[in-house]
């Protein structure tokens, strides 16, 4: 009797299995939606796929009657720009703080506990405070994202630095390297791929912050549009927007993974990631 643990689906079967749950979800949505629409054709809660395609088509390919913009692209552009700026700012500061805190015991003693505390403050609870302190324009949103992901990435990097074998640092010192040279030539190159990974993993939080910030005060953006149309239950816009955001998030995740693989292939080899169970 073959053990379940040893049964591996063949390639074809595996591909079908990947698609199957999504298909089932879409099917059950369709059934529920049709049932609701049969009862009340104007129902907006579970729009049909045709209605959603219509709405999205309008947002993507027709200029808005009042502003002349193609709303989907304007929203996407604005959101991605804020996300990129926020992540860049947050990761940049995190890199600096993480490096210093991980390498220099003097800095670590004071900064590490502070970073740990800040990382544990629930981000959305900080939101109202940040709005009052920093205001409600673009800077505020970028700062929000940066503060949301910065401390977590900094702590992650600090931890990674401490994982670097002490022998490497001693070797560099015996060869005559000073602190800054070690930081620049030994630690930083090893840290960069892990930074990319840390960014990749905190993208979810960054999106959360972005949407929350846009929901509170904005003139365009994906989160802005979702919360705006929520006012009149336009699920035919909300559901596709959420799907679109998910797609964007998946694409950025994929892109960052490939970036890591291309720029720092040695990391994968080091970890032995070539093998798959």
């Amino acid at each position: 009797m073959r053990r379940l643990i040893n049964i591996r689906p063949s390639r074809g079967v595996a591909q079908v299995l990947i698609i199957l749950p999504f298909l089932l979800l879409l099917l059950s949505y369709n059934v529920a939606s049709t049932a609701r629409l049969a009862e009340n054709p104007q129902d907006r809660l579970l729009p049909s796929f045709a209605a959603m395609a219509d709405a999205m088509g309008g947002l993507a390919f027709e200029a808005d009657s009042r502003s002349g913009d193609y709303l989907l692209w304007v929203d996407t552009g604005a959101s991605l720009l804020r996300l990129a700026a926020g992540v860049a700012a947050g990761a940049g500061v995190a890199l600096l703080l993480g490096l210093l805190s991980g390498l220099l015991p003097v800095v670590r003693a004071s900064l590490s506990p502070l970073l740990a505390a800040v990382a544990m403050v629930p981000p959305l609870a900080m939101l109202p405070i940040l709005f009052i302190v920093v205001g409600m324009d673009e800077t505020a949103k970028i700062v929000l994202i940066a503060i949301g992901i910065g401390p977590v990435i900094a702590r992650e990097l600090e931890g990674r630095i401490r994982e670097i074998p002490i022998e490497e640092l001693i070797k560099a010192q015996t060869l005559g390297a000073g602190t800054w040279l070690i930081l620049w030539r030994v630690v930083l190159p090893q840290l960069l791929p892990r930074l990319v990974d840390a960014i990749r993993l905190s993208l979810g939080t960054a999106w959360l912050f972005l949407i929350a910030a846009e929901a509170i005060a904005a003139t365009e953006g994906l989160g802005y549009r979702i919360f705006l149309v929520r006012r009149y239950l336009a699920m035919d816009v909300i559901l596709p927007y959420v799907a679109w955001i998910t797609l964007l998030a998946w694409l950025t995740d994929f892109a960052l993974r490939r970036l890591n693989a291309r720029l720092f292939p040695w990391l994968g080899l080091e970890r032995g990631e070539g093998e798959q169970r």
Partner: protein, 350 residues
């Protein structure tokens, strides 16, 4: 002998009792904190509503929902039988979604509760070119449209910044807001600042923003007792608010429940034209005012795509008025104004 009798009888009695309890129709009313809807909280907390419900052999659960729009969304989704809402929001959210709704009680209209404010400017015309912070597509947006029209401007002359109502006061305090439209009590708080000036408010377009208590039409038709109980409880509460001897106590209760003090609540009441009796409300509903207002509200909603992508024109959702006349699509009447139940209160027929 007695024990065996009890063993047999007790379950039967309990079953019968629970069966009786289940026979009572249960209804739910959702409300959110706003000066015009605090009477529901009072009626619920002091047992007035329970007494009225008891009288007709029904049960009415009153649920406070934190988010006003969410309460209307939930009503539209079928979670609540009745809800408190403004005429504009019920049209664009519930009626446009096909939920046939009746305005059981017209409680009041905003008479200065919604305000357009400018920083360091006293004239409405100075709003041109400014960034205006408001809750987009809400009554604030509607008020702004009226305000802009009154000085010959349009929405293209300003930039709208959608801001959550909970953050209005904080946003103004932050300093980067040149113009804002919001409602009380936030408006009052902001106007306390030296650089904030009110340049337009709903008292300049009275009778436009109506605060209503609405019930699903099919439920109301099938259970008119629900309408009677709600109307009876409402006007009993309103009478208490108007009663000179008890009003301070009643208003203090409402003030506390809405997170302010007596003076603050009374200030909010000053800018609300509360219909102090059923007779006044019936007069209003029978007048031309609801029709004129709803026409404008429907046009605004249509222009801003609030009626949904399937809407062919402002009259997409038919609206019926107290005299039975219909504005808009007669085959798609989803919002109905009626004086039927409020009239019962006038004639003491409850």
């Amino acid at each position: 002998m007695i024990r065996s009798a009890l063993v047999v009888l007790l379950p039967i009695v309990l079953l019968a009792a629970s069966g009786c309890a289940q026979e009572r129709p249960r209804f739910t009313l959702a409300w959110s904190i706003y000066v015009g809807w605090m009477p529901w909280e009072f009626a619920d907390a002091t047992g007035i509503l329970d007494r009225w419900a008891e009288r007709y052999g029904i049960e009415i659960d009153v649920v406070q929902v934190n988010d006003y729009i969410e309460s209307i969304n939930q009503y539209t989704a079928g979670q609540f039988d009745a809800v408190t809402a403004t005429n504009m929001d019920i049209l664009s959210i519930a009626a446009a979604s096909g939920v046939d709704t009746t305005a059981l009680i017209v409680g009041d209209y905003s008479n200065g509760n919604d305000v357009v404010m400018l920083r360091d400017a006293q004239e409405l015309a100075a709003i041109e070119g400014r960034r205006v912070h408001l809750v987009e597509l809400s009554v604030s947006h509607y008020l702004l449209a009226q305000a802009l029209e009154s000085v010959g401007l349009s929405e293209r002359d300003v930039t709208l910044v959608n801001t959550a109502d909970a953050d209005m006061v904080g946003a103004w305090a932050g300093g980067g807001v040149p113009a804002m439209v919001t409602w009380n009590p936030m408006a009052n708080e902001i106007l306390a600042a030296a650089d904030a000036h009110a340049v337009f408010d709903s008292s300049m377009t009275p009778g436009e923003i109506l605060d209503l208590t609405l019930v699903r039409t099919e439920i109301l038709e099938a259970n008119p007792d629900l309408g009677r109980a709600l109307v009876g409880a409402w006007y009993e509460t309103i009478a208490l608010m108007m009663d000179v001897q008890r009003s301070d106590e009643v208003l203090s209760h409402m003030a506390a429940a809405s997170g302010t003090d007596l003076a603050g609540y009374q200030r909010q009441l000053e800018t609300t034209r509360l219909f102090e009796s059923a007779a006044v409300a019936v007069d209003f509903v029978r007048s031309d005012a609801p029709r004129t207002t709803m026409e404008r509200v429907a046009e605004f909603s249509f222009e801003h795509d609030l009626l949904g992508s399937g809407a062919s024109g402002p009259g997409f959702v038919g609206i019926e008025f107290a005299d039975g006349s219909v504005w808009g699509n007669e085959n798609n009447v989803k919002l109905r104004f009626t004086d039927r139940f409020m009239n019962m209160a006038v004639e003491d027929a409850l």
